[in-house]
């Protein structure tokens, strides 16, 4: 079953800043709760993602790659494919993200199309769109926090002075930033940004987003899964794949 979806979100950071971050899989992967990056090799990466809808959980494992990256139009395309860790379902996805900047903010338009086999294929389009939307919302929130923190760090670096406050509601946990001026701190703290850096709004993803399973139901308005049909699991997993940040490796 092939499905296409469109989603859109905005981050409060100029597009010139948002663009390189979006290309940096290592920095962006933690923004997706439940996702764990395994390896990055140039444009190729692999990993897993775990999602939860109430008691239902699904994990996917596979690989993805940046098929196309156009810095002029700030468009990137990721192709991903993978397999359920505990099932026979498979999924493949193609995600295209377009960045548009306006007034120091960036709007990201995501178009995704994907194919699911196995139980998830029973899910209705509405459920998939719902789940995907939530996922992207969550991702957007975390990404915004990440970008804002990056910006803060860049500013600190420019001033060459340690900043003790990281701005509103952030950075209780992240060790270095306050103390180490300039580049060093920015580098080190950039990598596992989520824990302290993530804003309360995204606090659910805060602890270790890589390990924390995405609990979609925490977000308002869940998808309709009739009857505990296998659908739910696969669909959700698919959505995650769609974001293409998972590495899906063929077994």
């Amino acid at each position: 079953m092939a499905l296409r979806f469109e989603h859109e979100f905005t981050v409060p950071v100029p597009v010139e800043q948002a663009w390189p971050v979006l290309l940096d899989v290592k920095r962006v992967a933690p923004c997706l709760p439940g996702a764990a990056l395994e390896s990055v090799d140039g444009d190729d990466f692999t990993g897993t993602i775990k999602m939860k809808v109430g008691p239902i959980t699904v994990s996917y494992h596979g690989s993805a790659r940046f098929e196309k990256v156009d810095p002029e139009t700030r468009t990137l395309t990721i192709k991903a494919s993978g397999k359920e860790v505990r099932g026979q379902g498979t999924a493949s996805a193609e995600v295209t993200a377009r960045l548009l900047g306006e007034d120091g903010r960036t709007t990201v338009r995501v178009e995704s199309s994907f194919n699911i086999t196995g139980r998830p294929a029973q899910f209705s389009r509405g459920v998939l769109a719902d789940v995907g939307g939530k996922l992207i919302d969550r991702f957007a929130t975390n990404l915004a926090a990440l970008l804002a923190q990056e910006e803060q760090r860049a500013q600190e670096g420019a001033q060459g002075a340690p900043a003790t406050e990281e701005g509103p509601a952030r950075a209780e946990e992240t060790p270095a930033p306050g103390g180490s001026p300039a580049q060093g701190g920015a580098e080190a703290a950039a990598r596992p940004p989520a824990p302290g850096a993530v804003r309360p709004a995204a606090a659910e993803a805060a602890p270790r987003p890589q390990e924390e399973a995405l609990d979609l139901l925490e977000l308002a308005g869940g998808p309709m899964l009739r009857r505990l049909a296998p659908v739910a699991a696969g669909v959700i997993a698919i959505i995650l794949l769609v974001l293409g940040l998972r590495g899906l490796r063929r077994r």
Partner: protein, 287 residues
């Protein structure tokens, strides 16, 4: 298929259950009647690392009359609830709705608390709990708390319960004289889930509807109250067909009915309106 392997614990008391759950971690699930959870395991949709079976804990079972409300233990089975003289007398809506749940086999094992904790919006009991204004009593390592039904159902299959919390009982208020109840359920086959269901509680004074409480089954990711319809029903004469219809037509306002194999959203909206009218009328006549 058979479930993936899991650890199994059978605590003898609520405190032990809470402790076991808390130790077992996030991947543990509480097992009551298993009528919702075990299918998930068998379909290999859920993979809890451990099941904490609370089915043999005596204090979780039973129905008590506590004055202004009934206290129903979480592991009281559907069969016990629907046949309880207390429930039939003081909360007939609950008895009637429970009798429509699945089939006798399921009703003999499935539990009231389990059904609420599972929080499937297509289940009959969550919307009834919502309509009646029930309160859910939860226990965790840090103590006990009560959450009203209106705040309990957070999302599809998701509740306000913390990871190490157990639902121990439900307080179902007795609405008192003047109230009539009816649960109207539309389903394609006898033991199927409701395509849409309406739980109606109506307070009537002479020939006028003073107040209505309407819970909708399967009209969203959680059970919902038909708030607009409830408001529109105030002061409506039971004999005033046009006004009743107009009010019932507002039943689907604010809802996001799902699309699935059984129905599309527009059909569900239609069902909600029609069933609300029928349920309200039936409830009003019983008041």
């Amino acid at each position: 298929m058979i479930p993936a392997s899991f650890g199994y614990f059978r605590p003898a008391s609520v405190d032990e259950a809470v402790a076991t759950l808390s130790e077992a971690g996030e991947d543990a699930k509480v097992l009551a009647g298993g009528q919702s959870l075990l299918p998930l395991l068998r379909l290999r949709l859920a993979f809890p690392a451990a099941l904490v079976d609370v089915g043999r804990i005596p204090e979780l079972r039973g129905i008590e009359d506590r004055g202004d409300h009934l206290y129903i233990g979480a592991t009281t089975t559907h069969h016990e609830v629907m046949n309880s003289p207390l429930v039939k007398e003081h909360c007939p809506l609950l008895a009637q709705a429970t009798a429509t749940v699945a089939d006798p086999a399921v009703r003999h094992r499935g539990t009231f608390g389990g059904s609420l904790a599972h929080a499937d919006p297509a289940g009959d009991l969550p919307s009834v709990a919502l309509a009646l204004g029930a309160e859910l009593v939860l226990r965790s390592p840090s103590g006990e708390r009560a959450v009203p039904a209106s705040g309990f159902f957070v999302d599809y299959l998701e509740t306000a319960m913390e990871p190490a919390e157990i639902l121990v009982g439900v307080r179902v208020p007795k609405l008192g004289p003047g109230w009539g109840f009816h649960y109207e359920k539309f389903q394609r086959t006898a033991q199927a889930w409701a395509t849409v269901g309406v739980a109606a509680a109506v307070r009537r004074s002479n020939g006028t509807i003073e107040e209505a409480r309407i819970g909708l089954t399967n009209m969203g990711p959680t059970p919902v109250r038909a708030a607009a319809a409830e408001e529109a029903l105030r002061g409506v004469e039971i004999g005033d067909d046009a006004a009743l219809r107009a009010a019932a037509d507002r039943a689907d306002e604010g809802t996001e009915p799902p699309a699935d194999l059984h129905a599309q959203p527009d059909y569900r909206r239609h069902l909600a309106r029609v069933l609300t009218r029928r349920a309200v009328l039936a409830a009003a006549h019983r008041a």
